[in-house]
Subunit: 198 residues, 2 copies
DNA sequence: AGCAAACGATACGTATCGTCTCGTTTCCGG
DNA sequence: CCGGAAACGAGACGATACGTATCGTTTGCT
């Protein structure tokens, strides 16, 4: 998969992207986000600073690219069982945000990209929407089975899942365990009483 | 209310905290987070840098203090109506995260505090738990009324509310409107079918 | 072989951080 | 109303990182 934030030119093309992305992940894992400077990545990659700046506009874009390759965006398998499929989706999301490198970088990433709408939307594309579409497929499948209501707001469901998980990870520090996953799935599958069926 | 991150000494005590906090909010509102440097705040407050560093360990702590005063943490009024009370709580949360200054600063704040557990926990205290306890009171009131299940996990409810709202604000950019508020309230009040009544 | 793109090294100017020193102002007790 | 201590303003300072620019070298395509 090509990188999202780098801008390979027409002919010839970059020769050191992979080396740089690997080095970025390495620095991040070994020394943490505060140590992740362009100069440190360049040194770890055995590369000149200019080479990094040739392909990425700034540090956040580089980190986003480096992490995008670690971010899971599986197709949700058709298991014939709605509960199991949604659990798969939630577990995948938990997996992503439980990842040390990702969790440690996301706030700084968001902070750095927020003032740059162009980069921010590319970030959303790479990080969120790729995964979201796969989960949406599973949700629509569940609707077709009759397990979820026709008017289900799939975006809201995903905002709730990802939002809760991320919030727990970054703000409250509560565990991201099977219990949470189960709650989040049931939040969607246990339909409201709807005032009639009582 | 005293500030959370500053550390006023025994006697004498600081004379310029308010001036500095006001200046910080001013710079933030007028020029945005990237312009919020210690030097800019000092200049805007008509204060020496050293005065700021005397009372706050770093920029994040200062910003956290400045924003904590803007953060709403109302008591949820006893309206006799669970739905209305929870809606009040959700609206308040939306209000907080819809605030330009707060939303623009939160990621940078989280990024800066994350590597410092001590500051991070003081931040949680000031920003989250004050508000959460007030909302928890309303939730427990609703349980007592029989409108919510006895085993309600109030922390999870709040993680879902705040998480979803914050995620929408920072990541997807979806609107934080009455529709969302209503959905989030119903998520809690429309009890699951519980496998029996269905 | 030849050319252009990609590269590495590295110097440079700018910005901000957080520390420090020093002389001045403010406050409080006596 | 005086004197000392704390708080203060100004700003110099070293360290670090950013992002740009220059330049000679390597790489890979034709």
């Amino acid at each position: 998969m090509a990188s999202v934030f780098s801008s390979p030119q027409a002919s010839g093309g970059p020769r050191s992207l992979a080396k740089i992305l690997d080095a970025a992940r390495g620095v991040l894992s070994e020394h943490g986000y505060p140590a992740l400077t362009i100069e440190a990545v360049a040194a770890a990659a055995g590369v000149g600073k200019s080479t990094i700046y040739r392909w990425w506009p700034n540090k956040e874009a580089l980190v986003a690219d480096a992490l995008a390759e670690v971010f899971r965006a599986d197709d949700i398998p058709d298991l014939g069982d709605t509960h199991a499929e949604l659990r798969y989706a939630v577990d995948m999301t938990i997996d992503n945000y439980a990842n040390e490198d990702i969790a440690a970088s996301l706030p700084a990433l968001a902070a750095g990209l927020l003032p740059h709408p162009e980069l921010m939307s590319r970030f959303r594309e790479a990080f969120l929407f790729r995964k979201r579409e796969n989960i949406a497929v599973a949700l629509r499948r569940a609707v077709r089975r009759g397990d979820l209501p026709d008017d289900l707001d799939t975006d809201l469901v995903q905002d709730i899942w990802a939002g809760t998980i991320l919030y727990r990870r970054l703000m409250t520090g509560s565990p991201l365990d099977a219990d949470l996953a189960e709650h989040l799935v049931r939040l969607v599958t246990d339909k409201p009483a709807r005032r009639a069926g009582g």
